[in-house]
Subunit: 211 residues, 2 copies
DNA sequence: CCGCATCCGATTGGATACTG
DNA sequence: CAGTATCCAATCGGATGCGG
């Protein structure tokens, strides 16, 4: 059952926290920043949140107008959760909190890392050489396909298959997170199969080493 | 007893919420944005938080390096809580959340409003006429004295007695909040004594009507 | 008073099992 | 797949106690 408690404080901050201050709420918002997601995808992205809690949060966030349910492909097809216009305005706040939290102590192991999390980190923290030629990377994370485009030092991340890719990488979000923190481990990851590359190794090195 | 739970998610956002995601934590940070405060002042500013919870949060925030205790006036005198350098970096995030929350439904009545909350709102949302002459307002909120300086359309808020004030206003945070939302009620507030003005009425009207 | 600590009933969160 | 139902532990909120 969804919660109903309030800080009973007129300040905008307290009213914001009445809406997105409950546990897991802002992590759901983070998950929806790059692409609308289904219930099971959110469960996979937030494995430490129990299903009843996730259902409660989704109901609350929908009730408060932060997210809404809709059908993919107009009418038929699976249902996904997406941010509303108001919910989308949380994006800079969520990104700023991501930055701030980087200086916090690491969480206890084992810890999860969703595809969305690592792609946001890649997009906002990679500093690819602006002099390098533009390229497109097809990224397969846990079976979901993403398009990472790099041009003039800018990184763009989109959900879905690229029309044409220069290189293709298949790995897990956690491995990619480790590689961004420590690009020197790339050779080892390719050797033991935790990452698979098709295309030019140097291009991938450019992408990773900028993080 | 302070909590110890974690999202066990490596994303910066989750690690940030491991630190400031517990209930009341960000409201404590908000309270400390303008001036360090004592335990009893924080209790008064956050009347809906129980004392044990507030003590727990202060301990946790101190342990995580967001706030620290210190003595006023070097060594002796009362103890206050203040933001650390890392905690201070939350300021833009807190202010952005304040803005975002303004579009949320109002909390159930009765609802509190601290001096810090209303002063932050005044500072960041008042749009005084840039052509008006500069002035200084001495503000007495619940017995605490603040200095509000307006110059070229910019509002500055500081804790403490102004060296010299053009006008002086005494009221409560809640009344001031109402006046900022509805400046037309100023006459009524002055008439029924919920606000007391010394100085030029037009100057105060300028300040309020910009919100 | 100030600065908490203790106790306790009411909610909420987390883990697991289950259903349409 | 998309959630419910259930149960128990942790947390919250409110009242009270207590030394300085």
């Amino acid at each position: 059952m969804p919660t109903n408690r309030s800080y009973r404080d007129s300040c905008g901050m307290a009213r914001a926290l009445d809406v997105v201050g409950e546990r897991w709420a802002l992590l759901v918002v983070r998950e929806l920043l790059l692409v609308p997601q289904r219930f099971s995808e959110l469960r996979h992205a937030l494995p430490n949140a129990s299903s009843n809690l996730l259902a409660d949060r989704l109901r609350e966030l929908e009730h408060h107008g932060v997210i809404h349910r809709r059908k993919l492909a107009t009418d038929s097809g699976p249902q996904v959760y997406d941010l509303t216009a108001w919910g989308r305005k949380l994006e800079p706040i969520v990104l700023a909190l991501c930055d701030w939290g980087i200086d916090a102590p690491n969480p206890p192991e084992p810890s999860s890392l969703s595809a969305t999390s690592v792609l946001i980190f890649l997009r906002d923290h990679a500093r690819p050489d602006p002099a390098a030629p533009p390229y497109v990377c097809r990224l397969d994370l846990d079976g979901s396909i993403w398009t990472v485009s790099v041009d003039i030092g800018k990184v763009q991340v989109e959900y879905g298959e690229p029309p044409k890719a220069d290189i293709s990488l298949r790995t897990t979000p956690k491995t990619l997170g480790n590689l961004l923190a420590n690009p020197a481990e790339l050779d080892a990851a390719l050797a033991d199969g935790s990452a698979t590359l098709v295309g030019d190794l140097q291009t991938l090195t450019w992408l990773l080493s900028g993080g």
